[in-house]
C-alpha cells in the first residue's frame, strides 16, 4: 500500500490527517467563541454534543485521526534520523529561509500532545466521559460554561493553555503550507500565497482560542458581565 510504504505516501497521510485536524480546530474555535457571549447558548451546544451516538462516533473518528497523525509522525521522524546517519556535523548554519518550526515539528507535536492530555482531563473527562459512565463532578456534565470558568480560574491552567496555543500556532505556521505542498497543490506562484493564507488563517484560529482563555482568566467575557 503506497500510503504506508512510500515516502510520499506517508507524507500524504500526515498531510490529510493534519488538514482534518485543522478543520476540527476551526469548528472547535467557532464553538468556543459562543461562550464569550452567552453561557446558555454555549451550554446548548454542549447538550447537543453530549454522549449522543453521533458525538461519540465523531469523537472516535477524531481520536483515530490524532493517533494516525502521531504514529506516522514518530515513524517518519525515526526513518529520517536513520537516513541522516550516525555522524553529525561539527558546524551547522541554519539558512534564513528555513523556519525554526519546520525543523522542530516533532517537539512541537509532543508539547501539543501533552496539552491535549491536560485538556481531555479538564473537560472531556468531566463532560462526555462523566455522562457516559454516569458520574457527576462539581458541575453537571453538560454545564460546559461552568467548567470553563472553573478551569480558567486557576492561573496554572491559564499559563499551560497559553503555552499550548502558542505551540499549536508554531506547528501550524509550518504545517499548513507544508500539508498543501505535500499534496502537490503548490508551485512557484502559489507557494507564497499559501504561506500567507496559512499564516493569516492559523493566526486568526489560534487568536480565537487565546481570547476565550484570557477572557475567562481575567473574567472580562461579555457573557460574564
Amino acid at each position: 500500500m503506497w500510503l504506508t510504504k512510500s515516502s510520499i505516501g506517508k507524507k500524504v497521510v500526515m498531510s490529510v490527517t493534519g488538514i482534518a485536524l485543522i478543520l476540527f480546530l476551526t469548528f472547535h474555535a467557532a464553538m468556543n467563541v459562543v461562550a464569550l457571549f452567552s453561557g446558555d447558548a454555549y451550554n446548548e451546544i454542549c447538550e447537543l454534543l453530549g454522549a449522543n451516538w453521533y458525538a461519540i462516533v465523531a469523537t472516535m473518528g477524531l481520536a483515530a485521526l490524532a493517533v494516525i497523525h502521531i504514529v506516522f509522525a514518530f515513524l517518519l521522524t525515526f526513518e529520517n534520523r536513520k537516513a541522516r546517519g550516525q555522524s553529525k556535523y561539527a558546524v551547522t548554519a541554519r539558512p534564513e529561509k528555513v523556519e525554526w518550526a519546520s525543523q522542530n515539528m516533532l517537539v512541537l507535536g509532543i508539547i501539543i500532545f501533552l496539552g491535549l492530555l491536560l485538556h481531555l482531563f479538564n473537560f472531556w473527562y468531566n463532560m462526555m466521559f462523566a455522562e457516559i459512565v454516569g458520574t457527576m463532578g462539581a458541575y453537571s456534565p453538560s454545564d460546559g460554561f461552568a467548567w470553563i470558568q472553573e478551569t480558567f480560574s486557576n492561573p496554572v491552567f491559564v499559563v499551560l493553555y497559553v503555552i499550548w496555543i502558542v505551540a499549536i500556532w508554531f506547528h501550524l505556521s509550518h504545517g499548513f503550507w507544508s500539508a498543501i505542498q505535500t499534496l502537490g497543490w503548490s508551485g512557484k506562484t502559489w507557494f507564497c500565497r499559501w504561506k500567507i493564507i496559512g499564516l493569516v488563517y492559523v493566526t486568526l484560529l489560534m487568536a480565537a482560542f487565546l481570547i476565550v482563555v484570557l477572557a475567562f482568566a481575567f473574567k472580562c467575557a461579555p457573557s460574564l458581565c
Binding site: 515516502s7 506517508k10 507524507k11 529520517n80 537516513a83 541522516r84 550516525q86 556535523y89 505535500t182
Partner: protein, 252 residues
C-alpha cells in the same frame, strides 16, 4: 588587487566508511584571496606532501561549476556561503576573513558513505537516474527541431530543472537526509517536455521507489535544500513530483 589572508583550516580525515574519523588542523599563511577554495586545498596538499604527510582527499572534476563532483561542507553550509549559490569550486577565498578558522566536512548522510576524508560515494544518485530518469525513444535520424512544438515557458522551466548537476548538496543540508530536490528536478526536466510526458507517471513511481529503497529520508518541507542548491532548484519541483506521484498512484 588581491590581498593575502591567513587562517586555520580544520579538515575532516576518515579512512573509509567504518572509520570514526577526526579533524586535523593546519595554519595557512598568506594565501591570496583570489585563490579558489579548491586551489587553496591544492596548496594545503602541496604542503602536506612536502612535510611527508598524507594529503587530504576531496572530490572535484571540472572546476567550473558544471559537473557536480565537488562537495565540501564548509563552515556549516554545503558548498560554503556565496551570494546566489555556487559550487565549492566556484567559491573564492575572498569570502573568508583573515584569522578565521575554516571547518571542512564531508556530506554526512547515511546514503552517501564516506570513501575517504571528504570524498563520499554518491552512486545512489546514479541508481535513481537509472531507475527512470530517461525517455525510451527509437534512436536513428534526429527529428526536425520544429516537429514538436514546445511553449517557451515549458522549455525554460525544463531547462532550469535540468541544470541540477546532481551534486548532493540538498541531501547534505537536509536534516532528514532527503533527496527530494534532486529527484524532483530530474523528474521535472523530462515531465515538462512532450517527449517525457508519455512515461511521466511510470518515471515518477520508479524514481521515488528507488530513492526510498536506497535509504534517503522523507521530505518534511524544511527548505534547507533550496537554500543551498548551487543551481537554485526550488521546492516547486518537489510539489510537481508529489502531484505526479499521487496522481499516478491514484490511477493504479
Amino acid at each position: 588587487m588581491a590581498k593575502n589572508i591567513s587562517f586555520t583550516i580544520r579538515y575532516w580525515k576518515q579512512n573509509g566508511p567504518k572509520d570514526a574519523g577526526h579533524f586535523e588542523e593546519r595554519v595557512m599563511k598568506d594565501i591570496p584571496d583570489d585563490t579558489s577554495f579548491l586551489e587553496m586545498l591544492d596548496i594545503l596538499n602541496e604542503q602536506l606532501i612536502n612535510d611527508g604527510k598524507e594529503p587530504f582527499t576531496f572530490d572535484h572534476d571540472c572546476r567550473e561549476g558544471i559537473c557536480g563532483m565537488c562537495s565540501l561542507y564548509i563552515n556549516g553550509t554545503p558548498h560554503g556561503k556565496t551570494e546566489r549559490g555556487a559550487t565549492t569550486c566556484q567559491l573564492y577565498m575572498r569570502r573568508f576573513k583573515d584569522g578565521e578558522t575554516i571547518t571542512v566536512e564531508p556530506w554526512r548522510s547515511a546514503a552517501f558513505p564516506v570513501i575517504k576524508d571528504c570524498m563520499v560515494d554518491r552512486s545512489a544518485f546514479d541508481k535513481i537516474q537509472a531507475a527512470g530518469g530517461y525517455t525510451t525513444i527509437r534512436t536513428g535520424q534526429a527529428q526536425d527541431a520544429n516537429a514538436i512544438l514546445i511553449p517557451k515557458e515549458d522549455a525554460d522551466e525544463a531547462m532550469d530543472c535540468a541544470t541540477c548537476i546532481g551534486c548532493g548538496a540538498c541531501v547534505a543540508a537536509c536534516k532528514n537526509g532527503s533527496a527530494m530536490l534532486f529527484v524532483s528536478s530530474k523528474v521535472s526536466q523530462l515531465a515538462l517536455l512532450p517527449q517525457g510526458k508519455p512515461e511521466a507517471a511510470k518515471r515518477a513511481k520508479a524514481m521515488v521507489a528507488k530513492m526510498d529503497e536506497l535509504g534517503f529520508g522523507n521530505c518534511t518541507n524544511t527548505r534547507a535544500c533550496e537554500a543551498v542548491c548551487p543551481k537554485n532548484e526550488t521546492i516547486a519541483n518537489i510539489a510537481r513530483l508529489n502531484r505526479h506521484f499521487i496522481k499516478a498512484k491514484l490511477a493504479d
